[in-house]
Symmetry: D2
Subunit: 345 residues, 4 copies
Amino acid sequence: MISFASDYLEGCLPEVLQRLIETNAEQSVGYGEDEYCRSAREAIRRHLDCEADIHFVVGGTMANAMVIRHVLLPHQGVIAPESGHIAVHETGAIEAGGHKVLTCPAANGKITAAQVEAVVQAHRSDFAREHTVQPAMVYVSQPTECGTLYTKEELGALHAVCEQHGLTFYIDGARLAYALASGSDLLLSDYPRVCHVLSLGGTKCGLLMGEAICFFRKTLAGDFRYVMKQSGGMLAKGRLLGLQFLALFENDLYVRAAGKAIGCADRLRRAFSAAGFDFAFSTGANQLFPVLPPAAAKQLKTQFDFEPWQTLPDGRVVWRFCTSWATTESQVAALEDALLTIVDT
Amino acid sequence: MISFASDYLEGCLPEVLQRLIETNAEQSVGYGEDEYCRSAREAIRRHLDCEADIHFVVGGTMANAMVIRHVLLPHQGVIAPESGHIAVHETGAIEAGGHKVLTCPAANGKITAAQVEAVVQAHRSDFAREHTVQPAMVYVSQPTECGTLYTKEELGALHAVCEQHGLTFYIDGARLAYALASGSDLLLSDYPRVCHVLSLGGTKCGLLMGEAICFFRKTLAGDFRYVMKQSGGMLAKGRLLGLQFLALFENDLYVRAAGKAIGCADRLRRAFSAAGFDFAFSTGANQLFPVLPPAAAKQLKTQFDFEPWQTLPDGRVVWRFCTSWATTESQVAALEDALLTIVDT
Amino acid sequence: MISFASDYLEGCLPEVLQRLIETNAEQSVGYGEDEYCRSAREAIRRHLDCEADIHFVVGGTMANAMVIRHVLLPHQGVIAPESGHIAVHETGAIEAGGHKVLTCPAANGKITAAQVEAVVQAHRSDFAREHTVQPAMVYVSQPTECGTLYTKEELGALHAVCEQHGLTFYIDGARLAYALASGSDLLLSDYPRVCHVLSLGGTKCGLLMGEAICFFRKTLAGDFRYVMKQSGGMLAKGRLLGLQFLALFENDLYVRAAGKAIGCADRLRRAFSAAGFDFAFSTGANQLFPVLPPAAAKQLKTQFDFEPWQTLPDGRVVWRFCTSWATTESQVAALEDALLTIVDT
Amino acid sequence: MISFASDYLEGCLPEVLQRLIETNAEQSVGYGEDEYCRSAREAIRRHLDCEADIHFVVGGTMANAMVIRHVLLPHQGVIAPESGHIAVHETGAIEAGGHKVLTCPAANGKITAAQVEAVVQAHRSDFAREHTVQPAMVYVSQPTECGTLYTKEELGALHAVCEQHGLTFYIDGARLAYALASGSDLLLSDYPRVCHVLSLGGTKCGLLMGEAICFFRKTLAGDFRYVMKQSGGMLAKGRLLGLQFLALFENDLYVRAAGKAIGCADRLRRAFSAAGFDFAFSTGANQLFPVLPPAAAKQLKTQFDFEPWQTLPDGRVVWRFCTSWATTESQVAALEDALLTIVDT
């Protein structure tokens, strides 16, 4: 059984594993203060072209919860798309930290600067203010949970409205490598100009685990290590994260590995289209959301693993197929062949 | 200037004030363990016809926050109408206690048993469960924030779906007296049969301050005094709350005082209609939501205080007018007169 | 039965009650934005001789929890005497808000600047820092829970060490009136010079309920109304608190009423001494802590209510007797008489 | 430079690394629901001789915070030694979850059943109860933070007092392997009989990272996966933890690897004693706490890394030396040689 169910099915990139093997017997200080973490931070800063404050944590839910808890005051909330990861799939981690997620309707998983402006204005009306949660942050994912991409202009507009109203703009880059490799009009070095905090995902982009949280304003980064320790997010053997991120960023591995996934996704996109299937969202990254009739889904399920994403108002079912840095030519070819068969039936 | 801006503009009913005056010099033990609190609990139990566990707290936001924090486990959330007080006007108090409010669209401020069932089923799907907040409670207000009333059948259906799925059903009765006096088909003694926890509001129904939280299941009430003290909701001079609730419930004052407000509201309802104005919600309780043209609103504002409630999609503005136990005949007459004038213009 | 069990046994001062009676039928806006609250704030500012930002809340536990939650960041803690109210008698309200109380041993209920310095230094050592809670606030009560008083010099030293290390110094004045009336070397107008935040207790000093929180630094006060609303501490009929504090502070009632209690306490202090009983703490305010043999305690219990405070290492029991603004000459005389009898036996 | 500064300086045991290498390219479902996690749970259950409910999480602070948050109600607290990890070195993680740590003085890092009984009784007195945090759990570490070991009798007594009063007894086994290998009178299979929840540490006992939380009562385990996800403690590539624990427990590697560390520690214990140095605590596990004069410490620091633990009242400094599964014969020999030199000087 070949699985396209997610992009965190395998271990890690061979280059990453090799680093862990080579350094296994070394002794180093803990909690992210070792040489490998230092070098990894330097490597990432070079790619960002920015003196960012960078911290490594184990996972994405934790990264989101820590950043939001660190930046917001108790009476403040975070604006997010209603399909945003923090709004839907983190078991209330943000609320457990004391903060309301102020959701906006999100066509294709994206929100706009105008929506943010509207939330801010509504809060400032006479009958809201201190009786309601104060919006103080905007959260989006790039690419979104629907596989769509924000353009440079869209992120710039969100950044501008945040700057105007004193909100912190946080981009969750759990799958950012796939955005960078997708023909997006933003380079990694553009991000410090369009947001205040960025997470660079490792788990879904070739590492065993790990996210790098990048603060682009010194004031936001202060004392973040306390928050990491308190949240249980400071890894004792912190070098394990440093080593892995160093392997990704000391050269172009981060985007290169994602590029392979995008190539595979493009082939599958063409194959689904050729087989006559529509997509629920028009995506350019590593996730595909074809609408499959029950018979087709059933037939593919005999050979492949993939997950239902949602049921449309008309009853049709949207499925998610992911490629990743680990997807092989033969896995793609097998699905292409299967789709040809479906066409024939 | 006469104000119809809310139902908590004045002090308290004369009968309540008299009690405070008479007992002012008495010594009594604190924290709600005095004789007046005991008698007040007994009086309320007689009206409820139920051996409820009853606790007195100072305010409504606190009451909601404490009940929800006490009943839910950290990973659980509460289902509520999107217009519910806990979802909108408590500055994130529920989230500050760690819990997500799972909102449902709410025509006229009300949610249905079918909506609750849908939230529960969605949570149980393979791709939700522990990645999402577990629904464990339903919150509604009677009357709702839009002044509408749930029928006995509607509350019964909500109760049934809660029982079926093990959810706790909590009714926020901040204005319950007005529902009871409005020709609702539920008596106070019906509530222990249709919900598990009920708050009986005093602040908006004739007391200086105070809500009585009534638990209809012993298991829910255990250790609630700890939660009250921890939340800062256990009044040192607890007898002040007991005395006031005793004055309301030792006879029929609770519903009787509200009845006067309903009479006033009915007169105003007729006067607005006669003046040709529509209502945004069809209400039977003490709140009216007329849609007023700018000129009419401006003219009324010269004599009366009242608040904007919302702007309709077509740009028209809905205003809120409240009557209360303290509304006088002459106040109502003044507004009736003013509405006649508007008609004439 | 005459009770000396606490200083919150009765209702309120006659002057305060009169105000509530006179204004009962008036209409006013809610949530502390009315004229009475405004006037009360002005009156308190005159007494403080300082442009303080002042907020009224219902109770003391709530006041402490809100101030601490508002001032601290998630990874910060508050230094307090081990006998401090927040450390012992608030059911973990501070921890429920997410913060550790860093307790210091406290002879007679008081901590010193040297102790604060030591906590700060310990935290800064290489093996503490982000692995431990960051001290960011100092909490003391004046008078303390043991009835003792800080001198101007002691508070000045605590203030200096706080200023030096960037800590916020908060004084819980739940019983401050009794300190002011006790021959303390601090006037109310001295407090803005020795601390950053002060609560002025009303509940134990002649009001039905209420504490006034005074911020002496604008930066600390920002957005506090959000915290009040979120914590359920913003009273709907806010004028009730304003009216009461206005009655206390528009003239000298606050200290004058407390003065009566101190006179009564002084008489009882002499009576206990004359009867041959020692005190566990040497106090000047309205609480007395005599060490009573079982027979004496038993005999007094037939006529009076009072509470055990602690058991000394040698097995003897310390009891607490409180006087208050409401204590009468005849109540004091009755206890004096009873103590004379005990001497005779 | 050879480091004895901690027991988490290196990567992982070769057998563990081998497993990660062999399985790197495999696809498996996430979040701990894969075959390796299932097998690892089975292997641990065989060692425990108990049908425990077992969950894998990344780190120890997270494990403690999640277990305590899951088991306690909002108004409850956890009793712990004042030197316990949760009380000192977790940056207030337990308080951030809303709970007070009720500390007891702890000679040699250990608390007794009598101390627990005293805390429970104090809470039940008339003037404590709902004004104070309700003790509902006992936390101890085995071995303790001071390297000492609880005997079977001591743990049995703690278990008995917990059972009697309905408290949950949780043992933090971050270094349990070293206790098991130290001639402790408890086997792993004894633990389900002496506590209700146990964490089995991997990070300090040969894994890259990971702790196994074992619930010995089904009622305690319910819905724990929600808490894990909400806390950010559910690893996406969960098999990484399963694989590592499987390598430790499919045979005797867990205790065998720790045995080597104990052998090294014993040699160093003799070497320090021979050099004339005392120990602050009498330990049998992998941590040594020699009291070193400044000159000796300085000389050793030229060759070795190790950390100060505390300063004794008489001014002498206690240092900590750790051995681990990774300590080599030559590292031990080097320190033995250095200690011989110090004797000669």
